[in-house]
Assembly symmetry: C2
Homo-oligomer: 290 residues x 2
């Protein structure tokens, strides 16, 4: 616990309180969270990993000082990155996800009875282990039994997947550090090639409000490869600005024609009506992507 | 300009930079914005009013250190509080709004040709004047000619409106200070009584993520008075957590049966598809309101 002497990225003592400061230099903003307890800290070969009990969001996974996923709103992200592709694909037997060592999307995907195998590719083995210890309060036996965890570079792993992938989720963090390779043109091509004949992928594609350029590049790259590309959005309170985008690309089925009856009933965010609604884009997003 | 000696609520010098710190004690969070220039500062009889040029959101109106509306995302709020009621009401001739001295909703309402009169009730005359000087970059002659500005306590004004109101927007700020009276049970009853026979009101009803209790109270009070009450939501990046709710209550038409063809085409956020989508609530909101 080095917080008190200021060596831990992002954490600062303020009088008798500990705060985490998420520095957002590109946005010229900063977000501060009061920490009730620093639960875990370590330095992995890739990054500084910590888990903090925050007053606002419960437990929070922090990598190099940047909040990644929280206990109180992580389900919004996990459900929204997973279910829209899962209900669109007619028979998702093989699911894979790159990034997202917390295995939240794997737990959501395992709710579909037709799923036979889930590959989770997380470059940093310590992230998976820390998440399992501190954030996995709602473990799923079925997800555990289906999941093959690979501690590998996702951009390399995807070039030789063990089987063709039906649904591939790109749960990447910001475009620097360990995730940088998940933003290259070559990676998008590898994603396309890794998918089965009617495969579907979903990319976490950033804030449409703060980084329209990034969303536009993701969309263009996917459009150059896939016949069906659709952007959808939601609000994730612990993410900067809240408004967040995902981009779905499909070799076959259009998500607007997906079968909502397959949606599991034990969700906290998504439902049959929210899914089509999420594809309705505000004018400022639609016009930037046209 | 008192910023440099720290007397201005919320502003702080950090080295050579000026920052605004939005202290959110109930959320145990703080949000910081780098200020390129402090454009205006004054102390009115009600509050400290400032306008800052922020790097993240352009010009920002700040009251007692709390950001209210920004140049870059204010249109989302203004369009979302206004158009859903305007397309629902079959013939909105008389529109009124309580709070919201920036007159953004008035500009949106004036886009409907049937509107004959707009009453804007803003308790602090200086807020209206400061907004007119610094934030009204897109003035509307039609809105100006239709608008009657009242510098009065909205909770008192609404008891004797000049004419029955067809569409009434409650653009209230947080439930303390000048806005506290807009959260009482008596106020909701006055709102009901002020409306015409098929009148519609929309309340800004807070963050469903951080203040579900507040949203639930607003919903319950409106349900006890109106036959049709519907909650809708959007993401407003400069608001804490982004995710934000509005609650519409109608004496007649259900918004889900509103006529989208009446929507103006010069909007930056809302469109015919976004409006019905905004009424689709995530499970965690729906179950809290059931």
């Amino acid at each position: 616990m080095k917080a008190s002497d200021g060596q831990l990225i992002g954490y600062e003592k303020e009088g008798s309180e500990l705060w985490l400061w998420d520095d957002l230099p590109e946005l010229h903003m900063e977000a501060g969270y009061r920490i009730d307890r620093l639960l875990h800290y370590e330095r992995s070969p890739y990054q500084e990993i910590s888990v903090a009990e925050t007053a606002a969001f419960g437990r929070m996974l922090v990598l190099d000082g940047v909040p990644q996923v929280t206990e109180k709103d992580g389900y919004i992200y996990n459900e929204m990155i997973t279910h829209l592709a899962m209900v669109t694909h007619p028979h998702p037997r093989h699911v894979a996800m790159i990034g997202g060592g917390d295995c939240g999307p794997a737990r959501e995907a395992a709710k579909y009875t037709e799923v036979e195998r889930i590959d989770v590719v997380e470059i940093d083995a310590r992230v998976s282990e820390v998440c399992r210890l501190w954030l996995n309060r709602d473990p799923s036996e079925r997800a555990d039994s289906l999941t093959h965890l690979h501690h590998a570079d996702g951009a390399k792993w995807i070039r030789k997947p063990p089987v063709p992938i039906d649904v591939l989720l790109i749960d990447r963090s910001d475009p620097y550090g360990p995730s940088a390779a998940l933003y290259t043109k070559a990676f998008y091509k590898s994603v396309y090639d890794s998918l089965s004949a009617d495969g579907i992928t979903v990319f976490q594609s950033g804030s449409p409000f703060f980084d329209m350029k990034g969303l536009r590049i993701t969309t263009q790259r996917l459009r150059s490869l896939f016949p069906v590309v659709r952007t959808y959005w939601t609000a994730i309170p612990s993410f900067p600005g809240g408004m967040w985008s995902f981009t779905l690309a499909s070799k076959g089925t259009d998500p607007l024609l997906g079968c909502m009856d397959r949606l599991p009933t034990d969700t906290r965010y998504v439902n049959k009506a929210i899914i089509p609604a999420a594809f309705e884009l505000p004018n400022f997003i639609q016009s930037a992507l046209d």
